[in-house]
Subunit: 158 residues, 6 copies
């Protein structure tokens, strides 16, 4: 029985995130999408908004759930006895950061295994921060995020 | 009749920027330097100050003009029917960011071609943010920016 | 009247190369594809074979031609009074090499401008060496190279 | 029932490889270590020697086996109906190559998932080629490879 | 008589910093640890707190001292007639930034030599910002910073 | 009394190498340039030719000498009780390789300190392999190597 977590800010969720979730849902018995909430950071969408969007988006997969977590990710994994963490990487820049993060996590919880999955090339441009900026200019984000996220972005950028 | 844009923050313009502008002025019939103004970002020099400096600096080249633009760069290019965007890259770090940006722009406007030009090695250190920091310590920036920019920096760092 | 060269080994030409050629054919009045022949290197296809394939492939564009050149690329550019060199980059690794090469070329011929164009993400995997290796295992290369190249690869890997 | 492959040259196997194998043996129901044999490449140890070493080394894990394969890795995966490939990455350089390889493999077999695991920092220096070179100078490789590999290297470098 | 500086924010000092200081103390006759204070940046620990911690930490090495400096580092080096600057690099990301910084410094003071030392792999994860974030979640930082820093972090994150 | 080694293939020595040697000669009491000779590699200039060139080139600095060494560099350092190794890095690619090499060397000889010096931007293009290739095409290498090396290259490429 393999359980894995897929943590992130998801501010907002992108088609790239959903691509990783879909593929990971086939690899593990259970996948928990963790909406990270760090009280020292500022988000565009609140934790509750991000959770609501994600819970709607993961409905197609019965073995995928979503939660908010405002402590260390490794603390959730220890508490739930989960050893696997999935991370999507779009290229070198992502990997450099993820590589360091995975070593930090392993130092905190040696039983963790971080599994990196590469994002499909067609989703390379889907960085959440770029999408937020694009939406602030009323650019067309419909090919980058699920419809319900596109609507949420439009509501926030009237 | 080839027209190209050269967008950037130019906060402030550096000798590296001017090197790209000079070389690009020979490659295209017309070159528009776009002073990007993003209302969600904070600049050291105002858009008008950056435009005034740039317009003074590009006077030597008859086919180069400068404008302020506060929407998506691709929107200007669509409106003016310009397909070419010039970007200067100083090394790996720049390229990584520029590469992603070019793919985002192409997703928004498939007719765009981003042409990357490499900065001459002697201009490698001329990052606008570093020059601003240097000027804040009253360091000597005279070898890094045109004289009128050096003066503007000194006036802002009394 | 802007002329540009697009040099490479083209051993063999890939759909990624053809994508760059097609896009560059719209940017310049004339584009010369240079089949580089370095007598100290070993090629899978002979220079004549690579030229034959390329000449067939560029027929759709009236302003594109192909030649073999076995000296320094900058010597051809000097001789033909061409200042523009186009290079396609697929990502960080390519760029690192190309960046150095462009500086070397500029040291040899200061009037050169190397213009980098990014390859479309769907062509990222089309490295000639990988395609040759794939063909040697009788893998399916039909989505990676033009049909006439696929046939040539099959003939060489019976 | 999750089966995964862990392909490589293993010329020779290092402690870094064994670290990945040990950790992956806990993640999958079955793990097949594939000794890649490419007839166009030259190896220091023959395929049979590499297989003999690996089979001895994986004895502690009941769900791990080793085979020689001289075609495309994806052909083995298709034939055995295995969708998961494990790859160890030690840093940026490895990842750059692996990233491209994973996209090539996905182009050949869309059902493949490549899962990247990061090597523990203490195994960063264990590149097989460096170990071979070190052994050729009679350097001490005992902290880098399993004892039976160290002996094999000494026998080959009398 | 070789004197060197080792500048940084040290917000807070990590075991990685101390590893560099210890090794550098053997290489130079005198080593000055410079606590950089930039009035336009925000720090977690005040300059005085960082100095107090560092002065306590460097007591074991008689030839190492610590100071606060709120101007350009090169100004201190010019004033004290010191030509050597030591920087620790943990990997590619660090190096990219450090490389550019070293060129900037050399442009400001051509006599400077920046000597890069690589951090031991076991200290790779010790980025000050990550440690501050970890401490804010009450994570265990005892293996990452000296005991007196761990205590200071706990006092600041009650 | 600080002694350092500066190892390399020096096939041939470039102005970039000489720039590092000149600067390092001021940092250490004694600097030994080690001409690495690996019997499993092929060189353009023989070890004796490379030594003859280097010995001529380092004559201006009384504290610099040159030797041939065909074992592990760390063996020479142990034998001579030298702990410092100088390496020049021109950018990210160099650093990636050098970083790994320094960790390998430290694993073999924990007392080693590798000090990285950055090459001046004007010497970025001076890779020995590129210079050899350029010389094979009778390109002008006079701005890249010392005169005696330029002559040696011309003699070898009649």
């Amino acid at each position: 029985m393999f359980k894995a977590v897929f943590p992130g800010s998801f501010d907002p969720p992108t088609l790239g995130h959903m691509n990783i979730i879909e593929r990971a849902s086939f690899l593990f018995d259970e996948l928990v999408v963790i909406i990270a909430e760090n009280r020292q950071k500022r988000y565009f969408f609140s934790a509750q908004e991000r959770l609501d969007m994600m819970q709607e988006l993961v409905k197609p997969w019965k073995n995928v759930s979503a939660i908010i977590w405002d402590h260390l990710i490794v603390d959730y994994m220890k508490q739930e006895n989960i050893r696997l963490m999935v991370r999507g990487v779009r290229g070198m820049d992502d990997f450099s950061y993820e590589f360091e993060l995975s070593m930090m996590n392993k130092a905190l919880y040696p039983h963790i295994e971080t599994l990196f999955m590469t994002t499909d090339p067609k989703y390379f441009v889907l960085r959440s921060s770029s999408i937020r900026e694009l939406a602030s200019f009323h650019g067309d984000v419909s090919a980058m995020v699920p419809p319900l996220v596109a609507e949420a972005l439009h509501r926030k950028n009237p």
